[in-house]
């Protein structure tokens, strides 16, 4: 009996698969730290070799957050007494902050290049795009757009930072590049707002074509 009495917010967090999401995020952070360390320790590389980690780890983390947004009880959730947007927004902000912090620790040093600031920016941007995708496509498919975009940018971005690429290839820029921060920040604000206001798009369209 006490578990239910004490655990009501816990039930909400569990219903959104928070334990699994946190475990995935922790595993991604450890893997990123290990990979970054290995890459820059190789004699033929230096710290700039951490770019793949900066590009890939935020994609994985955003995917873990995005797919965890799925509500299994969408129709019942609509009858909630309290408004959803503050809960959704808090949930996303807290997870983003945790992820950004954990992944920033995975790439110590060299903030002027591909270090903690660039990692934080990429987490913010990737989570923003994924949150927008969850609102527009549904939580299950929310990882897809950022993975496609991040993968394409990783392959196509020019080696020299700045210029127009600072906008379209923001995940591949060094930490201090302002344009890349603007892009990532805009993606986050838009994505978080869409998700908070609309919620993840339900799997089924309840509105049409169903038997009444």
């Amino acid at each position: 009996m006490t578990t239910v009495r004490l655990g009501l917010p816990v039930l909400y967090l569990r219903s959104r698969a928070l334990p699994a999401t946190l475990a995935a995020l922790a595993a991604i952070a450890v893997l990123a730290a290990w990979a970054a360390d290995r890459l820059q320790d190789r004699p033929e590389f230096d710290h700039t070799a951490r770019v793949p980690v900066l590009a890939l780890a935020p994609l994985l983390a955003a995917a873990a957050i995005g797919t965890g947004l799925l509500s299994h009880t969408e129709e019942l959730d609509r009858t909630a007494v309290r408004r959803w947007w503050p809960r959704r927004l808090t949930y996303l902000l807290v997870l983003t902050a945790l992820t950004a912090g954990a992944l920033a620790l995975a790439v110590p040093g060299h903030p002027e290049q591909f270090g903690a600031p660039a990692m934080v920016r990429n987490v913010v941007g990737a989570t923003g795009v994924t949150a927008a995708a969850a609102a527009l496509l549904g939580a299950r498919a929310s990882w897809l757009p950022m993975t496609v975009y991040g993968g394409a940018v990783y392959l196509a971005a020019p080696r020299t930072p700045g210029g127009a690429a600072a906008y379209w290839a923001w995940p591949m820029q060094p930490g201090p590049e302002v344009a890349a921060w603007v892009m990532a920040g805009t993606a986050y604000v838009a994505g978080a707002a869409l998700l908070a206001l609309r919620g993840p798009r339900p799997d089924r369209d309840h509105g049409s074509g169903r038997p009444s």
């Binding site: 909400y12 009880t73 129709e75 609509r78 009858t79 049409s208 169903r210």
Partner: protein
């Protein structure tokens, strides 16, 4: 009146699911009958405050909750509302106790009363012994009963059930109807179903919907009487009454 809609119109893209419907429901058990696609689910979903109407007023428990209504007022109604959707999901890791507790949390029930309310609701649907079983390990009929338990956990003043007996075996249906009559003594219960026997056994009156319009309203006894008069249709009296009322409506609309 516990629930009253005026000029209620619901559209799904180009289709009109409900066409300027006027209805009211007092405490008791009300059956909502009609062919598939008639608009029953659309009506239940508007009454559950799950989807806003395209036009018209929706007054529940004395409060207007339709499009543009104040959130605080809608929230006060939602606390006193129970809803069993036709399809409802559950988090795969949840036990019966946790799932019903989650809905109690959605309804912002007093934390000190939740544990006892959850146990009482689960007991009332006859699943007391399975309360700590995972929902995913239960049979279809049991999951349906879990759905009924979550709908009554807050002892709702207005209970909306969409096809509640789908998947229940005959014994469970008999027990469920008894539960409906019990809840209906104090609350307003609206049951959407395509099983006329549910209506005959549990509902005091019937609303028949066809193509987004009200085809018939009356007591269950009146519908059965109508069936008695239409002997040539075959089937039992309430089925005949249902068919006769529907055909009379179609003739009137066609004319």
């Amino acid at each position: 009146m516990s629930a009253k809609v005026t000029g209620l119109t619901v559209r799904h893209r180009r289709n009109t699911a409900l066409d300027a419907v006027d209805l009211d429901f007092a405490p008791g058990v009300h059956g909502l009958l009609g062919p598939n696609g008639a608009g029953k689910t659309s009506l239940i979903r508007v009454l559950a405050t799950v989807s806003p109407p395209d036009a018209g007023q929706v007054e529940l428990l004395g409060t207007e909750v339709g499009r543009g209504a104040d959130h605080r007022e809608r929230a006060s109604v939602r606390r006193r509302l129970g809803y069993l959707p036709q399809v409802f999901g559950y988090y795969p890791g949840f036990t019966v106790r946790e799932f019903v507790g989650y809905v109690a949390w959605l309804k912002e029930m007093d934390g000190a009363q939740v544990a006892a309310a959850v146990e009482r609701a689960v007991d009332r649907v006859g699943l007391g012994e399975r309360i700590d079983a995972k929902v995913k390990t239960l049979s279809g009929g049991m999951v349906r009963r879990v759905g009924i338990a979550q709908a009554i956990v807050n002892e709702p003043a207005l209970l909306l059930l969409d096809e509640p007996t789908a998947g229940l075996d005959p014994e469970q249906r008999v027990e469920f109807r008894a539960l409906l009559r019990e809840v209906g003594r104090t609350s307003t219960v609206i049951v959407s179903t395509h099983l006329v026997e549910d209506v005959a056994a549990a509902c005091s009156d019937v609303t028949l919907i066809e193509a987004g319009r009200i085809a018939y309203r009356g007591t269950t006894a009146e519908l059965i009487e109508l069936g008695d008069a239409a002997d040539e249709l075959g089937g039992n009296p309430i089925e005949r009454g249902y068919t006769a009322a529907l055909r009379a409506h179609r003739t009137a609309v066609g004319a």
